[in-house]
């Protein structure tokens, strides 16, 4: 049947199973929004406060569901506002399709009003970008965009469509969405070789990352470590995949990882890196990271093998199938001496002080973990609160903790929470943020209020940009340049102005009370939690140093 480009776009979204879309209209999207009007029974359109919010919401929706998140923006500034959100999704391998409308093809290249070359701008921060310039290629392009976003190592794909193409008529053939392409499976010889390396190892450690979440391999991973008895740590991207306090759990690894995790890696003779790219926040140096270990990598992306560490072996493919194939080839081995060493390192770990009357960051997180329940979804912004949330919330749900791990995007959390709450209307969605990050994207409170999304925003207010300030403490002799804004924002008034229910909690009891009440609200809440700016994120492994240099003390004074 013949239809306009705009109608085709909407039909293609429906064909791909899209039920929710985060978009912001403009002159160039008029036809697309008009076509969405006709199909509003099939696709719910959510309007954020700005396009960045749309991109983060599509990202949060994708992280929460595993489906491709979709955002839509107009040409020019609408498109450029998506950029941070696309880059955030790219660095964390989140499947997303971003559709931008552009000026008509006769105006392209003439610096027309609201014209940018977004497919060029987004090129280096997306898995792929398309600039559609011919209506005959529109349908295949959008189908390819979804396939690319959702196959192999997932990621964001941008499709830029000029306005006249959204108005042009073309023959459209409906089709069923393509089945996902199965990832390759390692051959038996490779599997055997890796199993033999695991069998030989006397001091193994497994480190897993966001790949476990993407491939839905949490259950297989748990079986694998329990069968082999290999102690296990995770990157921030895999927070909540394995229950905290599990016997074999060493906690988080990396710059703010536990002493047990980092020391075990430093002494291991074998490190299995499963679904993690071992970024510089985890493997702080090619030569200094896991110096005694052979490193085995399980990854869906062959380019990760040997990229940041010297690889001693690898299996390429979907992590879930890799673990399934490997499971019958491995067995438990007595490593009591190694486990005794690890128990000793666990005792040396950092345990936060609980004695004072002041509200402490870890107490906030522990209360959240306790009251929010296993079905809750936590989103964070970026900074100290992000690491405290990862360390102390202790909820277990593989898609229940979302954070901008790769790009480190302040302002991610509120948009992501909107996306997560849209995907799971009855889940408790908790947005943990700091005063710095909140100022970057607090406008999304308007979105939460408009759609009655009961997102609970926890604001850890230390009045400073705590994480950068902590780096100035560690490396720049406490010369606190541009990190102590001491804003005069009255969060309770601002929150009320947006239509948010606000609370303030100065003590742990007050926080418990406020949080319990917020959990019952039908609309969004903010809980302002004043905390001491001197609180540091610990442990801290300084860049380029080893485990013997891990900082475990709150005392002021740098390195």
């Amino acid at each position: 049947m013949k239809m306009t480009g705009a109608e085709m776009i909407v039909e293609l979204l429906i064909e791909q199973g899209v039920t929710d879309l985060f978009g912001y209209p403009g002159g160039a999207t008029l036809h697309i929004h008009d076509a969405l009007y006709n199909r509003r029974d099939k696709i719910t359109h959510y309007l954020p406060a700005d396009e960045r919010g749309a991109a983060h919401a599509a990202d949060g929706y994708a992280r929460a569901t595993g489906k491709v998140g979709v955002c839509l923006a107009t040409s020019g500034p609408g498109a450029t506002n998506l950029v941070t959100g696309i880059a955030t999704a790219f660095l964390d391998s989140v499947p997303m399709v971003a559709i931008t409308a552009n000026v008509g093809t006769d105006l392209i290249g003439k610096d027309s009003f609201q014209e940018v070359y977004i497919s060029g701008i987004a090129g280096p921060i997306a898995k792929h970008t398309y600039a559609v310039r011919d209506i005959d290629r529109l349908a295949q392009t959008i189908r390819a965009a979804f396939e690319i976003a959702d196959s192999g190592r997932k990621g964001p794909v941008l499709v830029d469509i000029p306005k006249n193409i959204t108005a042009a008529l073309c023959e459209f053939e409906p089709r069923q969405a393509a089945e996902p392409v199965p990832a390759e499976v390692p051959d038996p010889a490779q599997l055997k070789a890796i199993a033999a390396m695991i069998e030989r190892s006397r001091c193994p450690v497994l480190c897993f990352g966001g790949g476990v979440v993407s491939s839905g391999a949490s259950e297989e991973l748990k079986q694998f470590i329990e069968k082999t008895g290999i102690p296990t740590c995770h990157t921030i991207m895999a927070t909540g995949v394995i229950a905290f306090g599990h016997d074999l759990d060493l906690g988080m690894t990396g710059m703010h990882g536990s002493v047990a995790a980092n020391t075990s890696i430093a002494h291991a003779d074998l490190l299995i890196a499963a679904g993690t790219r071992l970024s510089d926040r985890v493997a702080q140096g090619r030569k200094t990271f896991a110096p005694k270990a052979q490193i085995i990598q399980f990854d869906i992306d062959p380019s990760e093998i040997g990229k940041s560490v010297d690889s001693g072996g690898s299996l390429i493919g979907d992590l879930r199938s890799i673990l399934q194939e490997l499971m019958p080839l491995v067995k438990n081995k007595d490593r009591s001496k190694w486990m005794a060493d690890i128990r000793r390192w666990k005792e040396k770990d950092y345990f936060p002080d609980n004695t004072g009357d002041k509200l402490m960051p870890h107490q906030i997180m522990e209360v959240i973990g306790e009251l929010a329940g296993p079905e809750s979804i936590i989103t964070t912004d970026v900074g100290q609160h992000q690491i405290w949330a990862a360390q102390y919330c202790k909820t277990t749900r593989p898609r229940g903790f979302m954070t901008s791990g790769g790009l480190g995007t302040m302002g991610f959390g509120y948009g992501a929470a909107v996306g997560a709450q849209v995907a799971f209307p009855s889940a408790s969605v908790i947005h943990i943020t700091g005063d710095g990050s909140l100022h970057m994207n607090m406008c999304e409170a308007a979105t939460a209020v408009s759609y009655g999304l009961p997102i609970i925003t926890i604001i850890l207010d230390n009045a400073v940009l705590g994480m950068v300030r902590q780096l100035q403490w560690a490396y720049h002799k406490e010369r606190y340049m541009a990190t102590e804004p001491y804003r005069k924002t009255d969060y309770e008034t601002v929150g009320k102005g947006f239509g948010v229910q606000t609370y303030r909690a100065d003590t742990s009891e007050a926080f418990r009370d406020a949080f319990a009440r917020a959990l019952k609200n039908t609309g969004p809440s903010w809980i302002v939690c004043p905390i001491d700016k001197k609180e540091k994120v610990l442990p801290m492994m300084p860049a380029g140093k080893g485990v013997e240099d891990i900082i475990l003390t709150q005392e002021e004074g740098g390195l």
């Binding site: 497919s119 060029g120 090129g123 280096p124 898995k127 792929h128 600039a131 310039r133 390819a144 396939e147 690319i148 196959s151 192999g152 190592r153 392409v181 990832a183 869906i300 992306d301 062959p302 380019s303 093998i305 040997g306 990229k307």
Partner: protein
């Protein structure tokens, strides 16, 4: 000094594909010593030849990262023992009457052609392996170069085998 590596890519002939390849090299800090691109026997496919410098890890990364680009259909390292390598040099020299005999003797040894002769200058054209062109330029060092232009290396392997690639039906990692 590290050896130069020649990498050949078969890519979809789309607008923007060259900038995508160049952008990848730029953003990942890979070197481009030379780059050539042209159409092939199939109008939908272009061939890019890049010469680059880097250790084994870097070359491996270049291959794996370029393979991930959706429009890149095939990537391979060109084996210098099997690949015919050619580069074109155009060189404009300032000359006096006295120089002509010497220059034309050098040109005839290198099988270079003098393609333009003006009162005070001439233009030389030379085709060959990059090493030959380097040597030729070294010999001509004593003359004043007005302009110099090299195309970069393009390669093709000896024998009847073709550089095969599959048109992409699926897009993986």
């Amino acid at each position: 000094m590290m050896d130069k590596t020649m990498i050949a890519l078969m890519v979809e002939n789309n607008a923007g594909v060259l900038s995508r390849v160049a952008m990848l090299f730029g953003r990942r800090g890979f070197n481009i010593d030379s780059l050539t691109v042209s159409a092939t026997e199939d109008p939908d496919i272009s061939r890019i030849t890049i010469t680059t410098t880097g250790d084994e890890n870097v070359i491996k990364q270049i291959i794996l990262q370029t393979k991930k680009l959706v429009e890149v259909l095939a990537v391979r390292v060109e084996d210098p023992l099997v690949a015919i390598q050619r580069e074109l040099l155009l060189l404009k020299l300032r000359t006096t009457e006295n120089d002509l005999t010497g220059i034309s003797a050098i040109c005839s040894i290198y099988e270079a052609a003098i393609v333009d002769l003006s009162e005070n200058s001439l233009i030389i054209e030379l085709t060959g392996k990059p090493g030959k062109i380097d040597a030729f330029l070294a010999v001509l060092k004593k003359y004043e170069i007005i302009e110099q232009c090299r195309t970069g290396v393009t390669t093709i392997e000896r024998g009847e085998d073709a550089f095969t690639y599959q048109n992409r039906e699926s897009h993986r990692s």
